[in-house]
């Protein structure tokens, strides 16, 4: 058995017991990364940095609850002195001179950084096909097929790297499902905390009212360790929550006794894949067996969540991405004889990929004079109704159980139509709009031998309740399949 086969929790124990050194652990992962470059999970590898950090752990100068744990960092988090691209050509060569709060928290706790993980450009995508640095390939194959499959997105590099045992855990970010959907596609766990739990400072912005960082790892306890470190109040993020962060791993029980689990009728879509429906039913039975009471709840505005998201997110993106103008950082394209306006337009045309341009244009349109109220204001009102639906549902239940995605991982190019791609986020987007904590846990395999996930959505600030339900499912599902 290789050191890379250990879970993060087992690595912690092994390092504490000095069964192996932090350098040995880091080197085992660096070797695995080198042997799996065909997956294209990393944009930038930082082996020297990782080994230096690991040596400091071994000589006792680098300590903390995550001392020596080898992690991958999504390339959306600014890392001091290490190229940070957001998966975009426009930021190729950008080397931040500061550290994002989330990654700084992990470094404070002793983690070892292996490198920066590939992702959909500016986190806009559900398949990792929009990265300017090439697509990430899932380590999974459907049974009897050799076709490459998507790892999901936008945190596709994070998902592929964790599933392929290239790192113990990874940071992800979730705007409409970018932690949960890729976690489900590759058979790992991932949690998006309550909006405001993890600081957005130093994380490259996509849609600021939705963006939230969270961990991706091979099991629920591993996620809990990382979540505790990543979260915390930050005065530099105006929407950061000034709330105490519990030790999520220490509090984990997996007990569902006395808990009520809500099943939203509106998520049982017409034409739902029977495999997905069967998995959901299995999840309901598992939580019932674990002692929970199952209740029906209604989230009547569910069907409007996706169109709401595809107004709010592009609108915020068009504003956030205005900063990429070829002046302060990133790439610049200067047409001969052109003025500054020509430089802006040429820089952005060359630097942004098609999906990013499409979303900036949609955002610009819905915010433009004459259309603002019909689109943007109406979307903000429907968003309020979606959040209210959840508040009402949580009067009757403690957590909500749904599938994570409507299908297992698909092939590259299978969703060439942007709308077909957007619809893949149907189960994850509503919790994002309401700012609620939500996680995906691997729960089974499809008939084609591909991982499927179940999603647990919790009340604001009840990550502990979400993790407990996740652990209950993890224990019952006993998901041991590997790519």
């Amino acid at each position: 058995m290789s050191l890379t086969d250990l879970s993060l929790t087992e690595m912690k124990a092994g390092l504490d017991a000095r069964s192996f050194s932090a350098v040995e652990l880091a080197q085992a992962h660096l070797d695995a990364m080198a042997a799996n470059r065909h997956l294209n999970a990393f944009i930038t590898e930082t082996p020297e940095l990782a080994l230096a950090q690991a040596r400091a752990v071994d000589d006792g100068t680098r300590t903390g609850p995550l001392a020596g744990i080898p992690l991958g960092i999504k390339d959306l988090f600014c890392t001091d002195g290490v190229q940070t691209t957001a998966g975009s050509k426009i930021l190729q060569g950008f080397v931040p001179r500061y550290e994002s709060r989330v990654s700084a928290n992990l470094l404070r706790d002793g983690a070892v950084f292996l490198g920066k993980l590939n992702m959909d450009e500016f986190a806009m995508g559900s398949s990792n096909e929009t990265s300017a640095f090439g697509r990430v390939i899932s380590p999974w194959k459907a049974s009897g097929s050799d076709a490459d499959l998507v790892p999901g997105g936008s945190s596709g590099g994070s998902a592929a790297a964790v599933a392929a045992r290239l790192c113990a855990g990874a940071t992800g970010t979730d705007t409409g499902g970018s932690i949960r959907q890729p976690a489900a596609f590759v058979g790992i766990a991932g949690i998006k905390p309550t909006y405001g739990r993890a600081s957005r400072w130093g994380t490259i912005a996509f849609a600021s009212s939705l963006d939230q960082a969270g961990p991706m790892a091979r099991n629920v306890a591993d996620c809990a360790h990382l979540l505790t470190s990543m979260c915390g109040f930050d005065p530099l993020d105006s929407t950061s929550l000034d709330a105490a962060v519990p030790d999520f791993a220490a509090g984990l029980t997996g007990s569902m006794a006395g808990k009520r689990v809500g099943i939203p009728a509106e998520y049982r879509l017409d034409g739902m894949d029977p495999e997905i429906a069967a998995l959901w039913d299995a999840g309901i039975a598992w939580l019932k067996d674990a002692g929970a009471e199952i209740v029906s709840v209604s989230l009547p505005h569910t069907r409007y969540a996706l169109p709401t998201y595809y107004i709010v997110a592009p609108a915020e993106a068009s504003s956030n991405l205005a900063r990429y103008d070829g002046v302060r950082y990133g790439q610049r394209v200067q047409p001969p004889g052109g003025n500054v306006q020509d430089m802006y337009a040429a820089t952005r045309a060359a630097g942004f990929g098609k999906e990013v341009q499409r979303r900036i244009m949609i955002g610009t349109y819905v915010l433009s004079a004459g259309f603002y109220d019909a689109y943007y204001t109406q979307a903000q009102k429907v968003r309020a109704l979606i959040a209210r639906d959840f508040e009402t549902a949580f009067e009757r239940c403690d957590v909500i159980l749904t599938p994570t995605a409507p299908s297992p991982a698909f092939a590259f190019g299978a969703k060439a139509d942007p709308l077909a791609m957007y619809l893949n986020d149907v189960f994850t987007v509503p919790a994002s709009l309401a700012g609620l904590p939500a996680m995906s846990v691997p729960a089974g395999l499809s008939a084609s031998g591909l991982p499927l996930g179940l999603q647990i959505i919790g009340r604001p600030l009840d990550e502990a309740g979400v993790l407990d339900a996740g652990l209950a499912i993890e224990r019952a599902a006993n998901f041991t399949a590997r790519p």
Binding site: F94, V95, P96, R97, Y195, G196, S209, P235, T239, P307, T308, Y310, I311, S318, A322, G326, V327, R328, Y329, G330, R332, Q334, G338, N339, V340, Q341, D342, M343, A345, A346, R348, A349, Q357, R358, I360, M361, I362, T364, Y365, V366, S368, F371, A374, Y375, T377, Q378, A379, Q380, K381, V382, R383, A384, L385, A387, D417, P418, L419, L433, A434, G435
Partner: protein
């Protein structure tokens, strides 16, 4: 409401993205597809509902009015495509 080629050119101009003329009809079709799907939001009765700008309740925090940063000109300019004499440099702004 339907997006025309002329609207696409205008949005591209507002968004400061140079769009080649041959790419305009394709974008018009794509944007119409997406916006047509989005328009179903119009059927939701939102009478009396306040728009939700943020899931965060409450108001923004105050902070002490003190300098907490500075003297990092080299760091600020380090990633500039063109920095001259301690400034960001751009092509001429006024013809």
């Amino acid at each position: 409401m339907s997006v025309t080629d002329e609207t696409v050119r205008k949005i591209a101009r507002l968004a400061r993205i140079a769009v080649a003329e041959e790419d305009v009809p394709g974008l018009t079709g794509e944007l119409n597809g997406i916006l047509g799907w989005i328009e179903q939001l119009g059927e939701v009765d939102t009478t009396g509902v306040a728009p939700m700008a943020s899931v965060m309740p409450g108001t923004l925090r105050w902070r002490a009015d003190v300098v907490s940063d500075g003297d990092i000109q080299d760091k600020v300019l380090a990633n500039a495509p063109d920095a001259t004499s301690g400034f960001f440099a751009v092509p001429k702004v006024i013809e």
